[in-house]
């Protein structure tokens, strides 16, 4: 009959209207500044620079290789290389960024800078309340503002940070082992050279050794 559907529809809305006063679960709204949604771990908003240790400027992992600057699709990163070098986490002397600016208003949160960084120096932050009263200076974030500790990284992305730390530690161990091996090889080589020199000094020079047997034909 005419009007049946209207009655049904009115019943549905009446149920919703009354139900929203009875059960809180119906209300899907989160009262934002007071209540906050628990963000998923993979959430990303804006990049930050990771530093190790306590001194933000000394511990920056960034070596100013400028890969992120080149890869950034909207070109929101600006890097100036330093003139001098400082040791990185392995102890190798590296450049560091004299200037590292990112323009929030241009950044599109694509995470490509993070993907391309070979030093795990730039990561995505979860902070989304980035509004500012100053639309020029306030939107250009400099190195000091971008630098955040590894502990912060662990807090916002625990799984990812553990993986990165493991990788860096493994690299460090490898580098140390290599350095040790190199050092040993060096000592050995030096010793050999010394022995050779000593031998050369005692024995008269001989003709060079005969060439090795050629490899077997296929």
């Amino acid at each position: 009959m005419l009007g049946e559907g209207i009655i049904k529809g009115m019943a549905v809305t009446a149920k919703n209207f009354l139900g929203s006063y009875v059960s809180e679960e119906r209300l899907t709204t989160i009262q934002y500044p007071e209540e906050r949604q628990v963000l998923p771990e993979a959430v990303r908003q804006f990049p930050f620079l990771v530093f190790d240790g306590n001194d933000a400027m000394a511990g920056l992992r960034c070596v100013a290789c400028q890969i992120c600057e080149k890869e950034c699709p909207p070109k929101c990163i600006y890097i100036e290389k330093s003139k001098d070098k400082k040791p990185d986490y392995i102890g190798k002397p590296q450049l560091y960024p004299a200037t590292f600016d990112i323009d929030i208003s241009v950044c599109m949160s694509c995470q490509i800078c993070v993907e391309v960084c070979p030093f795990d120096a730039i990561k995505m932050d979860t902070e989304f309340e980035l509004s500012t009263g100053d639309r020029f200076g306030g939107l250009l974030v400099n190195k000091q503002q971008l630098a955040k500790s590894n502990a912060h990284y662990h807090r916002i992305h625990p799984t990812e940070a553990d993986e990165v730390d493991g990788r860096l530690a493994a690299e460090k161990v490898k580098a140390e082992a290599k350095a040790k091996a190199d050092a040993e090889a060096k000592i050995k080589a030096a010793a050999e050279a010394k022995a050779k020199a000593a031998a050369a000094a005692t024995a008269p020079p001989t003709a060079p050794a005969a060439p090795a047997t050629p490899p077997a034909p296929k």
């Binding site: 009959m1 209207i6 529809g9 009115m10 929203s20 209300l27």
Partner: protein, 396 residues
Amino acid sequence: MADDLDQIFVTISHSIVGLFPEFWQPVVSAILAIAAIIGVFASLFAVTTVFERKGLGRIQNRYGPNRVGPFGFLQPAADGIKALIKEDVVPRAADKVVHFLAPLAVVVPAFLVYAVLPIGRNMVLVDFDAGVLFFFAIGAATELSVFMAGWSSRNKYSLLGAMRAIAQMISYEIPLILSAVTVIMIVGSLSTTQIVNAQAGYHSIGLPNWFVFTPWGFAGFVLFMIAATAETNRSPFDLPEGESEIIAGYYIEYSGFKFALFFLGEYMGMFAISGLAITLFLGGWHAPLAALEVVPSWMWFFAKLLAIIFVFIWVRGTLPRLRMDQLMNFAWKFMLPMALINIISAAVWHFMVRAGLPGYQCWLVGAAIVAGSYILLGRGLMEGKKIEKRTYRFAE
């Protein structure tokens, strides 16, 4: 005591008027009443906007506005301040004079019609013999102002909105007036106070003597409310301002306080037509039960008004907007014949009551006429229409 409370505004008005010399008394009395009407209904408008937004929110399982003031009830103040300090943009190509006059032409008639609404016992600004006629005559002026707004803006959307508004308002004006005619036939008067007086008293079973409890009155009330919804451009008949189709319809080129005036006019129209529905069908300011007569009469009027406003909001939260052809079909193929049949039903009722037939017989005959024609007309309206699950060729 109850009488004192009932007549409190009347006595206050009389005592204030008494302070003035006799020559000025009619003027002061009129100004007082006008100020009271504007003040009360404008604040009702403010309250309604909050209630509407909160109610719609609850229907959609949201909170609605709850930030400004306690529970968000100061939201209209914030909105009003915002509207006042906004820039008043007038399109360069607009007809400036008409563009300026249109919002005023919306608001003035919307307020004028309150003159004949009996808000309480002895509380009517003008006790006019042709009150209902006056109401419809002034109410029809809204059409002019809507077209003024739509035409003067020189914008295709506003013109489309105005054209739709005119088509819709003229179509629905007919069932609106025809459904009101039944009451005028039965009461034999166009005066709103006499119509209210005719609904005084109670049936033997305890029901009040309101016209809505008669078959023709019930059908008339439903028809009147549907037509009133269309007349005030409220959802589901909000085609003239359909946001998803023509942005804001005829007031697309209005900003700031002029826009707020359109809004005010629209809500004033809604309250006025609800007030007329109360006067015609819901017994005006009479209490629904004899035991509740102690509550002041003006409170009953406003209680009924708020109830009708709630239904308006409820309908708005439920029904989707009609299509233009559905709107017109509904008006001309269902509302108009139904209103005409209802007039016959009222006439039959009138003669049966006069012939002294028992109440239940009158009721049965009236109900048979109304319900039978409703079912048949409904079938006619649905004829040839197959309601089936819609399939989409490319979307699935």
